[in-house]
């Protein structure tokens, strides 16, 4: 028996680590990976809340799990396009450091 709040706290920890990694990492691929980590943390929240709603209503509720399914689909599409953009950026600028890709900075 585990309180559902523990699952939610775990997902908060993972999300915060993802935010920190997103801000601190300088490699564009690692920045992208920390976005995936944040998506996974939110998915865990959805599954935990789906379970909590099932227990609150007394019968099985799968809406939260279906939301995770759609997040996974969109994440797969996003990863494919994002990595293609990274390859294109690397071809154009010959670097993966986000500090050197600053054409849109003032």
């Amino acid at each position: 028996m585990v309180p559902i709040a523990y699952y939610l706290v775990l997902s908060a920890i993972l999300f915060s680590i993802g935010v920190a990694a997103f801000l601190i990492k300088r490699n564009i691929i690692t920045v992208f990976m920390s976005i995936e980590l944040m998506l996974n943390a939110v998915n865990l929240t959805f599954v935990a809340f789906s379970r909590q709603w099932s227990q609150a209503t007394g019968h099985l509720q799968v809406s939260g799990q279906l939301f995770v399914f759609f997040v996974m689909v969109v994440a797969a599409a996003e990863a494919a396009v994002g990595l293609a953009i990274i390859i294109a950026v690397f071809r154009a600028r010959n670097t993966l450091n986000v500090d050197q890709i600053d054409l849109m900075k003032l």
């Binding site: 028996m1 585990v2 309180p3 559902i4 709040a5 523990y6 699952y7 939610l8 706290v9 775990l10 908060a12 920890i13 993972l14 999300f15 915060s16 680590i17 993802g18 935010v19 920190a20 990694a21 601190i24 990492k25 300088r26 691929i29 690692t30 990976m33 980590l37 996974n40 998915n43 865990l44 599954v47 935990a48 789906s50 227990q55 609150a56 099985l60 799968v62 809406s63 279906l66 995770v68 399914f69 759609f70 996974m72 689909v73 969109v74 994440a75 797969a76 599409a77 990863a79 494919a80 396009v81 990595l83 953009i85 390859i87 294109a88 071809r91 993966l96 450091n97 986000v98 500090d99």
Partner: protein
């Protein structure tokens, strides 16, 4: 039993995520992210989401992370160097993330009696339960995602192609 499994795999998750944060080489970060995603699939199983546990292993730790490691090797990404921007990010990043964690953990733990406890083996959502809702109530969004995937494939090919 449930608590022991939760502690083991939650610990693996947090350790993998911290390793992602601390490693300086992207391939090490990618491999620790695979650890995080695989342990998350066990946690989904503990919460009774068996289809999502399988999909997590196949889609995330399978497809997406293979794509990541493939791109890292293709671009021959080396260790990331420290720059001026990273100092600024250290000042803003760690306190911001810690404040977010503190706020979320406080809210979740103060409501822990309302959320209740999860017991192992109750409310198991089988693939049949999921597909009944998915293909009856959510058929249109499901079909729209297939269009999204198609556009994403075309976009990825168009972006990654070498220009002549």
């Amino acid at each position: 039993m449930h608590l022991a499994l939760f502690i083991i795999f939650a610990g693996l998750c947090v350790a993998g995520a911290l390793n992602l944060l601390l490693q300086r080489h992207p391939i090490n970060s990618a491999l620790s992210l695979i650890v995080v995603m695989s342990s998350l699939s066990v946690l989904y199983l503990l919460l009774g989401a068996e289809f999502l546990a399988a999909a997590q292993v196949i889609v995330y730790s399978g497809a997406i992370m293979v794509l990541f490691t493939f791109v890292i090797m293709l671009l021959n990404a080396g260790r990331e160097e420290r720059t001026h921007g990273s100092k600024l990010a250290y000042i803003a990043g760690f306190p911001g993330a810690a404040a977010l964690l503190g706020l979320l953990a406080y809210i979740f733990l103060s409501q822990r009696t309302t959320f209740g406890n999860a017991r192992l083996g109750e409310y198991l959502a089988t693939t049949g339960d999921l597909s009944r809702v998915l293909f009856r109530d959510l058929l249109l969004p499901f079909e729209v995602t297939s269009v999204l995937i198609l556009i994403a494939i075309l976009g990825a090919v168009a972006l990654a192609r070498k220009e002549h």
